[in-house]
C-alpha cells in the first residue's frame, strides 16, 4: 500500500489510496474529536460493536435523549404548520447552545405549548358547545313555533268543522281526544340536540327500531358546517328533536344519542325563556371569543420565537445524534479512559485529520493527545473517487452498475467522452442537439437556484444529469453536422455540394443520377444525398461500418484496460493467459474486419465484405477473386484464422493449471521466490499472500470458471460486435422518424396553402418532435448507450464488486433528512 503514495495521482482512473486507521481518543475529548471529524468529512467509522443491540451500547441514553428532543422538535413543527408559520431560514445566529441547555429549554417550551393547547382546547370546546346550543335553541324554537301555529290552525279548522256539520256526524271520540290532548302533550317528553348529518339516517332508523316506532323525530338541516366540540373538526350536522313518551324510551334514546355522538342540549318551550337563553349564550360567546383570541396571539408569539430558532436547533440535535451514533460504534478501552475507533480514510487526508484531532485535544483541554495509528489489513478498502459536479454524474452511471473494486481501472473516466459520443451517434441531428442543449443550459444556468430547492422526481433526475445531457447535446450537434441532419433538412454549411445535374434542365436527376462536378464536400455527408433513391443504401452502409469500427475500438479499449488492471495488481498470469489471447482473438477476427472496412473506404473497391468474412471460415484456402482488396490477403486470412483458433485453448487451459501449480508451490513453502521481483510492494504482496493462503484451492471450480469465462468471451466477441450495430439501427430510426414528421406533417400542411391547416400542422410537428424525437428518442438512445457501456465495454475488464466510501460527515446529514 505504501507504493500508492509514490505514483502520480491517477485522479479518476484509480480510486484514492485508503488506509485503515486506529484512533485512540481520550474520553474527555472524544465528543469534540468526532464532531470535528464530522465537519471534515473524510473518515468512515467501522462499527466495532455490531454484535450489540442498539440499546446496549455505551451512548444509548444520549441517543434516546436526542430522539426525544427530535420528537419535541417535530411537535413544534407540527404546531407551526398548524399555525401557518414556517421556520425562518435566516436563523443562522451561531450562539453556542449546548445540548443540556437545549434539552431543558425544549422541555419548558413543550410544557408551555402543551398547556396553552390544553387551555385553548378547553375554551374552544365550550365555545363550540355554546354555538351548538344556540343553534339548537334557534332551530328547535322554529319547530315548536311552526308546530304550535299549525296545531292552532288545525284546532280552529276542527272547531269550524264541528260548528258547520252539526253534532250527528261528529264522532264522540274525536271530541274526547281533543279534550285529552293537552294532558297527553304534557306527558310527552322530548330530547333535542345535534347529530352528524351522515349518521342522521341510521340514527333515525335505530330510534325507530328501538322504540318500535313510538317516537316522533323532527330534523332540520343546518346550513354550513359546525365545529364538533369533542373532536374539534368541522362537520355538517342536523338539529333534531325527538318526542317520546315514557321513561324507558327516554333512557333508550339517551343511550342511542350517546352512541351516535349526538350532543343533547336542554330546551324549554317557554318563548321568553328561549330569548333569555339566546341572549345569555350570545354574551358568553363574546367573552369566550376574546379570551380565545388573546390566547391565540400568545401562542403565535411563542411559536414565532420557536420558529426563529427552529432550524438551528434541529440541526444541532441531528448533529448530536449522529455524533452519539458514531461514538456508540467505538469500543471502550478496559480502563474506561479512552475510546478506540477504527475506520478508513483517504491517504491524502492524513494531515488534515491529524490537525483536526490536535485541535480537538487543545480545545477540550485534554492532557493526552489522540493517537493516530495506521493498521495493516487484509480487508479490501472502500472505493473513493474525488468527483466534482461535472464528473459525478458520469461516475454515477458507472456506479449504478457496480462500485469499482478498490483501485481498479475506473471506466468512469472514459465514459465522460464515450457515453455522450455513442449517444450522439444514435441521436445525430444538430437541430435536436441544439434543442437539447438549450434545455440543459436552462438547468445549468439556474443551477444555484435549483440545487437549493426540492424538485420533483423526474426533474431531480434531469437536474442531476444536466452535465451528461449537455455533453450529449454537444456531441449530437457534432454528429448531426456529420450526418448533415437538421430536423431532416439538408444544409450546405461547409460549401456547395459536390454533385450537380448532367445538364442545366436537370430532367434526369431522379432517374440517371447526378455527376460529381466539384471537389468532395469538405465535412460530413453531402447534402445532395438527401431525398435521393440511393440515400438509404449509402447511409446504411456508412453507419453500419462506422458502428463496427466504433465497437471494435471500444472493446479493444476494454481489453487494454484489463491489461492495466492486471499490471497494477502484478498479476502476470492474467496478462499472459488472458489479455494476450483475448487481444489476438478479437483483433484477428473483428480487428481484421475493421481493417478491411478502412481499406475499402480508402481504395473505393466494390468487394463484398460479408463474403470475405464468411468464406474466411468456410473455405480459407479458396481464391478471393474480385473480393481481393490487397495483395497477400489470402495468406493473411489463414494466419489470422489460425491465430484465432490457437487463442481459444490459450485462454482456456494454461491459467487454471498454473494457478494450481502456484498453489502447490506456496504450500511447499517456496512462495518467497515470488517476492523478490516486487520488493517495493512488499506490504501488498504480504497481505495478498496472507489472505490467499487461507483459501481452499478447488481445481474443478477454477477450471469451470475459466471455461465459462472463455466461452463467454469467444461468443461475446461475435455477439458484442453485432450488438454495436444498434448504433446504426437507432440512428436510422431517428433520421427516418424525423424525415417522416418533416415530410408528412410539415410539408403536407404547407401544401394546402391554408393558414389554419398550417398552424395545426406546425403544432402537430412541434408536439411530435418534442414528444417523440426529443423525449422518447433521447431516452431510448440513452438506454442503448448505457447498455453498450455496461455490457459490451465494462464486461471486458470491470469487476465492480467494491463498496463505496461513506465518510461520517455533517454535510450529508441535512441532505438525507430532506
Amino acid at each position: 500500500m505504501g507504493g500508492g503514495t509514490h505514483r502520480p495521482t491517477m485522479d479518476l482512473l484509480r480510486s484514492e489510496p485508503m488506509q485503515l486507521v486506529q484512533l485512540i481518543i481520550p474520553i474527555e475529548s472524544a465528543h469534540r474529536s468526532i464532531s470535528y471529524l464530522g465537519d471534515l468529512g473524510f473518515f468512515q467509522f467501522k462499527d466495532l460493536n455490531s454484535e450489540k443491540s442498539p440499546f446496549q451500547r455505551t451512548y444509548a441514553t444520549q441517543i434516546k435523549r436526542c430522539g426525544e428532543m427530535a420528537r419535541k422538535l417535530r411537535f413544534f413543527k407540527e404546531q407551526m404548520v398548524k399555525a401557518g408559520l414556517s421556520p425562518s431560514t435566516r436563523s443562522a445566529i451561531s450562539d453556542d447552545v449546548d445540548l443540556d441547555n437545549l434539552e431543558v429549554k425544549l422541555g419548558e417550551l413543550e410544557a408551555e405549548l402543551m398547556e396553552m393547547n390544553a387551555n385553548h382546547e378547553k375554551l374552544q370546546h365550550s365555545y363550540n358547545e355554546l354555538i351548538e346550543y344556540k343553534l339548537v335553541v334557534q332551530k328547535a324554537g322554529e319547530f315548536f313555533h311552526s308546530a304550535q301555529s299549525m296545531a292552532a290552525a288545525k284546532q280552529r279548522e276542527v272547531e269550524a268543522q264541528q260548528r258547520g256539520e252539526g253534532s250527528i256526524d261528529s264522532p264522540l271520540l274525536l271530541e274526547q281526544e281533543m279534550v285529552t290532548d293537552p294532558s297527553k302533550q304534557v306527558k310527552l317528553g322530548f330530547v333535542s340536540g345535534l347529530v352528524p348529518r351522515e349518521k342522521s339516517l341510521a340514527f333515525e332508523r335505530i330510534l325507530f327500531r328501538a322504540t318500535r316506532g313510538n317516537v316522533f323525530l323532527k330534523q332540520s338541516v343546518l346550513e354550513g358546517s359546525v365545529t364538533d366540540p369533542a373532536s374539534g373538526e368541522k362537520a355538517e350536522k342536523n338539529v333534531f328533536v325527538v318526542f317520546y313518551s315514557g321513561e324507558r324510551a327516554r333512557n333508550k334514546i339517551v343511550k342511542i344519542c350517546e352512541a351516535f355522538g349526538a350532543n343533547r342540549y336542554p330546551f324549554t318551550e317557554d318563548l321568553s325563556k328561549q330569548f333569555q337563553i339566546i341572549t345569555e349564550v350570545s354574551g358568553r360567546l363574546e367573552e369566550l371569543k376574546t379570551t380565545i383570541d388573546v390566547g391565540l396571539v400568545h401562542q403565535t408569539n411563542l411559536l414565532q420565537t420557536i420558529a426563529y430558532h427552529f432550524e438551528q436547533w434541529s440541526h444541532l440535535v441531528k448533529k448530536e445524534k449522529s455524533i452519539y451514533h458514531t461514538l456508540s460504534m467505538l469500543s471502550i478501552d478496559v480502563t474506561k479512559k479512552c475510546l478506540v475507533a477504527e475506520g478508513w480514510c483517504p491517504v491524502f487526508a492524513t494531515n488534515k485529520i491529524q490537525n483536526v484531532l490536535q485541535r480537538a485535544t487543545v480545545d477540550s483541554n485534554s492532557q493526552i493527545g489522540t493517537i493516530f495509528h495506521i493498521l495493516q489489513t487484509k480487508e479490501s478498502p472502500p472505493t473513493y473517487f474525488h468527483t466534482n459536479k461535472f464528473t459525478s454524474a458520469f461516475q454515477e452511471i458507472v456506479d449504478a452498475y457496480g462500485i469499482a473494486k478498490y483501485q481498479e481501472a475506473n471506466p468512469g473516466v472514459f465514459t465522460i467522452i464515450t457515453f455522450p459520443f455513442l449517444f450522439a451517434v444514435m441521436f445525430g441531428d444538430w437541430g435536436h442537439g441544439i434543442c437539447l442543449f438549450l434545455a440543459t443550459s436552462y438547468f445549468i444556468i439556474k443551477e444555484k437556484k435549483f440545487s437549493s430547492q426540492k424538485l420533483g422526481d423526474i426533474t431531480e433526475m434531469i437536474f442531476g444529469g444536466r452535465y451528461v445531457i449537455m455533453m450529449m447535446a454537444l456531441f449530437s450537434i457534432y454528429t448531426g453536422l456529420i450526418y448533415n441532419e437538421f430536423f431532416s433538412v439538408p444544409f450546405e454549411l461547409f460549401g456547395p455540394s459536390a454533385y450537380g445535374c448532367r445538364d442545366p434542365a436537370c430532367r434526369d436527376a431522379s432517374t440517371a443520377g447526378l455527376v460529381k462536378v466539384r471537389a468532395t464536400y469538405p465535412f460530413g455527408v453531402d447534402p445532395k444525398w438527401h431525398g435521393t433513391r440511393s440515400e438509404l443504401p449509402f447511409l446504411n452502409s456508412l453507419k453500419m461500418k462506422m458502428s463496427i469500427l466504433l465497437g471494435v475500438a471500444q472493446m479493444n479499449l476494454g481489453i487494454i484496460l484489463s491489461y492495466f488492471n492486471a499490471k497494477f495488481s502484478g498479476n502476470e498470469l492474467n496478462i499472459r493467459y488472458q489479455f494476450l489471447p483475448q487481444m489476438i482473438f478479437l483483433n484477428s477476427l473483428f480487428g481484421y474486419l475493421s481493417l478491411l472496412i478502412v481499406v475499402k473506404w480508402c481504395i473505393g473497391s466494390q468487394a463484398d465484405l460479408y463474403h470475405v468474412m464468411i468464406y474466411m471460415f468456410l473455405s480459407p484456402t479458396d481464391d478471393l477473386g474480385e473480393n481481393q482488396l490487397f495483395f497477400g490477403q489470402k495468406f493473411l486470412q489463414i494466419v489470422l484464422l489460425l491465430a484465432a483458433l490457437v487463442a481459444v485453448p490459450w485462454m482456456l487451459f494454461p491459467k487454471p493449471f498454473l494457478l494450481k501449480k502456484q498453489h502447490e508451490e506456496r504450500h511447499r513453502g517456496q512462495s518467497y521466490a515470488l517476492l523478490e521481483n516486487s520488493l517495493d510492494e512488499s506490504d501488498e504482496m504480504e497481505v495478498r499472500h496472507g489472505s490467499s493462503s487461507h483459501e481452499e484451492f478447488e481445481f474443478s471450480e477454477v477450471f469451470v470458471h475459466q471455461l465459462i469465462h472463455t466461452i463467454e468471451f469467444v461468443l461475446g466477441a461475435v455477439s458484442n460486435t453485432a450488438s454495436y450495430l444498434r448504433l446504426w439501427a437507432l440512428s436510422l430510426a431517428h433520421s427516418e422518424l424525423s424525415s417522416v414528421f418533416y415530410d408528412k406533417v410539415l410539408l403536407l400542411a404547407w401544401g394546402f396553402n391554408n393558414i389554419f391547416i398550417l398552424i395545426i400542422g406546425i403544432f402537430v410537428f412541434i408536439c411530435a418532435t418534442v414528444g417523440v424525437l426529443l423525449v422518447m428518442e433521447t431516452l431510448s438512445a440513452f438506454l442503448h448507450a448505457l447498455r453498450l457501456h455496461w455490457v459490451e465495454f465494462q464486461s471486458k475488464f470491470y469487476e465492480g464488486d467494491g463498496y463505496k466510501f461513506q465518510p461520517f460527515s455533517f454535510a450529508s446529514l441535512d441532505a438525507e433528512d430532506e
Binding site: 440499546f55 434516546k64 420528537r71 341510521a202 327500531r209 328501538a210 343511550k255 342511542i256 352512541a259 351516535f260
Partner: protein, 351 residues
C-alpha cells in the same frame, strides 16, 4: 379457478400478494425477539422498534411510554395495512378480506354487551375494541336488553346478521348467554367462511380449509375445557362445535361427553396432529395449552406462504401480525412490571 390459478391469479391478486409478502418480510425474527427480551425499559423497546416497520408509528410518542400505547400504535399499523389492501382489492378478494375481520366483530359485540351488562362506560369499552372489528352502529349495542333486541336494533345491519339466526331468544342477557352467543356466532362465522373458501376453490380452498379446520378444532377443545363444570348440557355443548374440521363428527361426540381435562386429552390424542400438541403437556395441565395451540397455528400459518396464487396468505399474514402484537404486548408488560423471568412464557416465535 380449477387449479389454473397461475394463469389468471396475477391479474387481480398479483399486486396485493406481492404487497402482503412484502409485509410478511417485516415480521419479527427470532433475533428481534431476543433483542426485545433483553430490553430493560419500555424506552428500550421503543428504540428497538424504531428500527423496524413500527418506527414511524411510535416516533412521535412522548417518552413515558405505556404498554397500551405500544400495542395501540402497532395495531394501528396493522389496520392501516389492512385498509390499504382492502382498498386495492377486487372481488372476491375484498370479500375474503372482509371475512377476516368478522371474528373481531364478534369479539367486539361480546365485549360491549358484557361491558354494558356490568355497567361500564360505553366510551371506555369502545376504546378497548379491536379496530378491525368496528362497524358504524357498534355503540348502540349498549341499548339492547336481550338477544332479540340486539339483533333487531343493531346487528341486522352488519355482516353478522345471518349468523344470528340460531341464537335469537328473548332471554335476558347474562354472562352465560353471552358466552353461548359468542360461540354460536363464531360457529356460524367459521362455517360460512369455510363455505366461502370452498366456493373459491383451488389452492385457496385447500389451504384455507386446513387453517379454518384447525381454528374450528381449537375452538371445540376450548369450549369443552371451559364448559367443564358449568351447567351447560352435553347437547348444548355439542351444538357449539363447528360442523367441519378434523374432529367432525366423531371427535365432537367424544368431546361432548368429556368431564375433565384428561378425558379431553384422551379424545384428542387419537388425532395425530393434535397428539403432538398434547404430548408437550403434562397430565392435568391446561395452562400451557393455549401457547401450544398458538405455536402450532403459527407453524401452519407460515406454511401458507410456501405456496403461491392463493388468498390464504392474507389470512395468514393478518393472524401472524396479530400474534406478533400479542408477543409484543407480553414482552412490554413483562418489562414494565419487572417480570423479565417470565418473558419467555407466552412469546411465540414466528420464524
Amino acid at each position: 379457478m380449477y387449479g389454473f390459478e397461475a394463469m389468471t391469479f396475477n391479474i387481480h391478486g398479483g399486486y396485493l400478494e406481492a404487497i402482503v409478502r412484502g409485509h410478511r418480510a417485516g415480521l419479527f425474527t427470532a433475533a428481534d425477539y431476543n433483542n426485545l427480551c433483553q430490553c430493560e425499559t419500555l424506552d428500550d423497546i421503543k428504540m428497538h422498534l424504531s428500527a423496524t416497520e413500527y418506527g414511524p408509528y411510535l416516533q412521535n410518542e412522548p417518552s413515558p411510554l405505556h404498554t397500551t400505547t405500544i400495542v395501540e400504535k402497532c395495531t394501528l399499523k396493522l389496520v392501516d395495512e389492512y385498509k390499504h389492501m382492502l382498498c386495492q382489492a377486487t372481488e372476491p378478494l375484498s370479500t375474503f378480506l372482509e371475512y377476516i375481520t368478522y371474528g373481531h366483530m364478534i369479539d367486539n359485540v361480546v365485549l360491549i354487551v358484557t361491558g354494558t351488562l356490568h355497567e361500564r362506560d360505553v366510551q371506555e369499552l369502545l376504546e378497548k375494541c379491536h379496530p378491525l372489528g368496528m362497524f358504524d352502529s357498534i355503540a348502540t349495542l349498549a341499548v339492547a336488553q336481550n338477544m332479540r333486541e340486539l339483533y333487531r336494533l343493531v346487528l341486522v345491519d352488519t355482516p353478522l346478521a345471518p349468523y344470528f339466526s340460531e341464537c335469537i331468544t328473548s332471554e335476558d342477557l347474562d354472562d352465560m348467554n353471552i358466552e353461548i352467543m359468542r360461540n354460536t356466532l363464531y360457529k356460524a362465522y367459521l362455517e360460512d367462511f369455510y363455505k366461502f373458501c370452498q366456493k373459491l376453490g383451488g389452492a385457496t380452498a385447500e389451504i384455507m380449509s386446513d387453517l379454518l379446520a384447525f381454528e374450528a378444532d381449537r375452538r371445540a377443545v376450548n369450549i369443552t375445557i371451559n364448559s367443564i363444570g358449568t351447567e351447560l348440557t352435553r347437547d348444548d355443548r355439542r351444538k357449539l362445535y363447528s360442523n367441519f374440521g378434523l374432529l367432525y363428527p366423531y371427535g365432537h361426540e367424544e368431546l361432548a361427553v368429556c368431564e375433565d381435562i384428561d378425558q379431553v386429552r384422551g379424545a384428542m390424542e387419537k388425532y395425530p396432529p393434535y397428539q403432538s400438541i398434547f404430548s408437550k403437556l403434562s397430565y392435568g395441565e391446561s395452562q400451557m395449552l393455549d401457547k401450544a395451540f398458538y405455536e402450532e397455528e403459527v407453524k401452519r400459518l407460515c406454511l401458507a406462504f410456501e405456496q403461491q396464487f392463493h388468498y390464504g396468505v392474507f389470512f395468514a399474514y393478518m393472524r401472524l401480525r396479530e400474534q406478533e402484537i400479542r408477543n409484543l404486548m407480553w414482552i412490554s408488560e413483562c418489562v414494565a412490571q419487572n417480570q423479565k423471568s417470565r418473558v419467555h412464557d407466552s412469546v411465540v416465535f414466528i420464524f
